[in-house]
Amino acid sequence: MAERRVIGPTAWLVGGAGLFIGAIAAWLTSQGNPGNMGLCIACFWRDIAGYFMGSQTGQAGLAYIRPEIIGIMLGALAAALITKEFRPRGGSAPLLRFVLGFIFMVAALVFLGCTVRVWVRLGGGDLTAIWGAVGIVIGVVIGVFVLRKGFNLGRAKQLAAPLGWILPAIAVVLLVFALVTEYGAKPEWATLTPAKGKAVVPGEVVVTTDGDVIKPADATLVDGAVVAADGTVLADAEKVASAGAMPGGLRAALWISLLAGAAIGVAAQRSRFCSVGGIRDSILVRRFDLLFGVVGLVIGATIVNMLFGQYNLGFEGQPAAHNDALGSIAAMTLAGLAAVLMGGCPLRQMIMGSEGDADGAIAVVGMFAGAGFSHWAGLASSGAGLGDNAWLAMAVMAVILGAIAFIKRPRVA
């Protein structure tokens, strides 16, 4: 083969998109989203799962239909329709893609963030995210090895038009629920974390960061303490002050989130941005263009976080993060491998699903199911560290990924 450029002109397109996505993510935090969680595909689907399943999965503090997710899907859909890239297709091992999406999500929630949030966290100065990045690289290296051995989920085929609309239809359903909840009333069965809510005594005493008592209904705030109607002190001032806001209650205004998501969806669809593909392509085919995406994301997030005074360099006290290095590396190794096996990171799966790819849509549905399962089974981490059974779950997932990776090798004509 003759000489080939390893960095082409599309590097600037992907890099620019990454810069934009990182900047928007950091800006969303300034608008009310959780720290270093202006954009996180796993966390946001987790919150959506909490809205629908939270009463069963114990997600009172992680329940909100994140409008960014809806915006990303509708923005990508619009971009795909305009550029005539919307093509109903699928049928490439959908069941395995569901499993891969499921495993990706469970692993990501052990780390506390998807392969996108790793870079968002780094852009906020969160050095514990380095462990996640190390894990992604290890997972991708394993994935590249598997791909070189001939791993392949098989070819997708053209599908009947309605099947291409699975993910856009889900987006519309979510939008209806989001709008009804915002401007009408939340359905009885749904769970919604109160805006700016702090769980002082989980499930019993909930106040907002503005100083309103949400639960119990008849209690009031007296000199910073929560006092019941009969005068009993339910939580003293120190306890109220030290309680952290629940992530699900930290959110930018609905329309800001929706429009920011749409802008990210368009940028990602046009640029083919991927949070793992850059590392994969660099190793596998020595092409570095996609790598500019994540580099741009970290730079964009860093700049905007600094502008808004949100930048906090270090390992300690990072928002929605823990400092379990080994657990983080293991979790993101699994997530990185799962992402390579399904052909792209969770953001890519959403974009492809919005372009009519039913397989991408199935992977997203798998992620949604995995989020509910993770919290129901107590596998998701907290700021304090890993759940009791997280290592067991990761071992099981490693075995399943290994089975998929080494057995699934059909021929490609």
């Binding site: 083969m1 080939r4 450029r5 082409g8 791909l147 399904m342 052909g343 372009e355």
Partner: protein, 68 residues
Amino acid sequence: MKEVDVRGLSCPMPLMHTKKAIEDDPAEILVHADSGTSKANVVAFLQDAGYTVSVDQTGEEYKIKGAR
């Protein structure tokens, strides 16, 4: 002319197949792709390898022609 069919393949297989196809340096190559992403990636990859690329879009697929 070398011909490669990457229709229906997930990332990064379209690039892997294209890379393999140009290893023996064909003067002309035709790649059949069916998604916007694989089209964009293959076009950029061939251009990086020094090919002049043209794309013929039909209803079902992109015919990507590279020549040098």
